[in-house]
Structures are given as C-alpha cells and as structure tokens.
C-alpha cells in the first residue's frame, strides 16, 4: 500500500481530529465496571444503518481525517474508475437529467456531428450546442423543433417528456400543477405546461 496524502483538509477539522486522536491514543481509561441494561440487538441494527451525520461535527471531522489517507491507484485502475464514473454520470443524465443533457448524451451515443444535426433541424450549430450545454434555455425552441430533435435521436417519448418537465421545473411528482403555479410565475407556468403538452402530442403523432 502506497500511502497518499490526504486531500481537501479543513484546518479546524484537523485540530479537532488531533485532539480526539490524542485522547484515543492515550492510555486506556479504567473500566468503570457499571453495565446498564443493554438493548444490544436494537443498538447493533440501528448503528449499522446510521451514517456520518449521526455524529457530532467534531467527531465527523475526525473520522474523515482518519479515513482520508488511502493507497495509490495504478494508472489502469484509475482509468477504469474514471470510466465507471463517466458511465454512471451518463446513466444519471439519461434517467434523471434535463432534456438538454439527454439530447447531448444521445447525440454523443449516435456519433452524430453537431453540424449535421443542426442542419437537419434547421438550427445554427452554435445554438444547438448552447442548448445541449444548458447555457441556452430549451424554451427558446418551439414544440415542433423539440419534437423533431427528440424524434431524430430516437428518444423514448415518455423519457423525453419527463426530461422536459425537469428542464422546465415542472417536477413530475408535484401534487398538482395548480399548487406549483402558486410558487411560480403563473403565465410562465402555463406556457411551460402548454409546451410539454404540445411536445407530448407531437411525439405521440410521430411514433
């Protein structure tokens, strides 16, 4: 094992950790000998599912400090882990991301150059790229353009509609649109709902 330096240290956390570790490394204290009734099973089961936030901030910092050092990764192992992260992020964007990220991932999977797709959709290449990156709002497209883009990349209708809802802040699990409208600009909200509906209908017709 090749020890590696720890990263992202919080100096205050280090002070606390040093103090706690010094205490732990000190001579073990005498046993008090007092044993209260112990619900061991419940304790074990509860501790097994608790996470770091069950600890005080000070203890949490000390645990992080203790577990921060690791071992050097071989270049091949590092690359495989990076690939795994990329794979995970890709899946995350496909299933939980915005429409823009879904469009970008699918175009990448198809190996379709941005210029070619932009020409087919009658868009400027720069506009297409800024929409994919999220710099430009998907609302700048009309329903027909969105539907054409989704259809061209063979994205499942339901997935595209859900992604569009996320892009527009219309969370699918919201109790009702009426409730959400109270926290948003009502006009914008109505426009967004209309856009989602229109895209859904167009995709239905084209499927």
């Amino acid at each position: 094992m090749t020890p590696t330096p720890t990263t992202g240290h919080d100096p205050q956390g280090d002070d606390a950790a040093d103090r706690i570790l010094a205490e732990l490394r000190d001579t073990p204290e005498a046993d008090t000998g007092v044993v209260e009734p112990v619900p061991i099973e419940e304790l074990d089961r509860a501790l097994a599912v608790l996470s770091a936030d069950a600890l005080s901030a000070e203890a949490q910092a000390a645990v992080e400090r203790l577990l921060a050092s690791g071992e050097g990764l071989t270049p091949a192992a590092r690359q495989r882990m990076i690939t795994a992260v990329e794979r995970g992020l890709r899946r995350q964007r496909l299933t939980h991301g915005t429409l823009a990220s879904l469009l970008a991932v699918r175009r990448d999977e198809e190996g379709l150059p941005a210029a070619v797709l932009a020409r087919e959709l009658h868009l400027e290449e720069a506009d297409l790229l800024t929409i994919e990156s999220g710099e430009r709002d998907v609302r700048t497209l009309n329903a027909s353009q969105i539907a054409s883009w989704v259809t061209r990349l063979a994205i499942d209708r339901e997935r595209a509609v859900q992604a569009l809802r996320r892009s527009l802040g219309l969370v699918a699990t919201a109790p009702s649109y009426a409730e959400r409208a109270s926290t948003h600009n009502p006009t914008q909200h109505a426009d967004d709902v209309a856009l989602v509906t229109a895209v859904g209908e167009l995709l239905q017709q084209r499927s």
Partner: protein
Amino acid sequence: MTDELIADARAGKPHAAPFLISLHGPALAGYLRDIASDLSDTDRELIAERAVEGAVRKIDRFDAAHGPFTAWLRGFVRFEVLNWRRATARLHSLDGVDVPTPNPPAHTDLPGAVLAAVTDALRTLSPADQVIIALHDIEQLPSKQAAARLGITDDACRQRYVRARRRLAAVAARDPRLGAYAREASP
C-alpha cells in the same frame, strides 16, 4: 472543491470524472482494502468501480447537509462489498437455497424513533467515543484496521470500543423511545 466538482458532474462537464477520482479514488481504495482485505485486488477494483458508478448515478440525491461526499461514497462501497459477498458466498448446504435472501443491513425495519434515539444517544458521548464507535459500527472497519488508522494496538482499540459501546448502551437504555420499542418487540 468537491461541491464545485459535484455541480460540474451533475452538469455533465467532462473534467468532473477524472477530478472526482483523483480526489476520492485513493481514499476509497484504501478504505476498501480495510473493510475487504480478504478479497483479491481484482475483486476490490471491480467493487470500487461499481461503487463509484452507483454513487454518481444517484448524485442528485447527495445532500451535503447529511455529511461529506466521501462519507456518502463509502456508503456505496460498503453496499457493494455486501452485494459482492452475498453474490459470491460459498454454498455450504442446500437447505436454505429456496429461502428468500434477507435484506442487507443497509435496510432496516427499525422505526425512525429508534434510529433517532440511538443518534441522540451517540451524540451525547465524547467525540473520542463517537469516533471509535463510528469506525467499527458505521464505517465497519475490522478492529485491526481501526487500530492501525488510530495508531494504537488492536487490544487497546478493542478496549476503547467495548467501553464506548457500554456508555452508548447506558445512555440509550435511559431513552424512553428505545425502551418502549424493546418492550413491544420482546415476546
């Protein structure tokens, strides 16, 4: 730095993956060696890959208010180690083959009140007691590895742990939520 990286990862920025691994990969590999030292390097590498992939697939659920990103990643590592052990466990008998596999320890049917009671009890302990319990019970480090991380002997580590657990049990036993649950659960 991690917050920015997480934001970049969520936004699909290509540099996020290598930076995340540079920042957290070595610590995860070291932690994995501690909790799964019996497995081969190859198995551990595969587990690490599955863990980081699983973690970033759920990156939207990460909430820094519930602990640092590294602690969250370690949770995925523990889960994947458990899955690995269950999937590759040797079959000693055919008796239990048709029995449904029990839920992994990461899932519990304990009521929220019991978890809250144990959490409250844990926080009343000294930071040193919390740390030694966290290393054993939350991070699931074997005693030898916990001792090595602390720079103390295994015996001293075990003593510290036993005493910290006694103190935790003593505090928890006085909590009416836990007492009520224990009474209800007892036959």
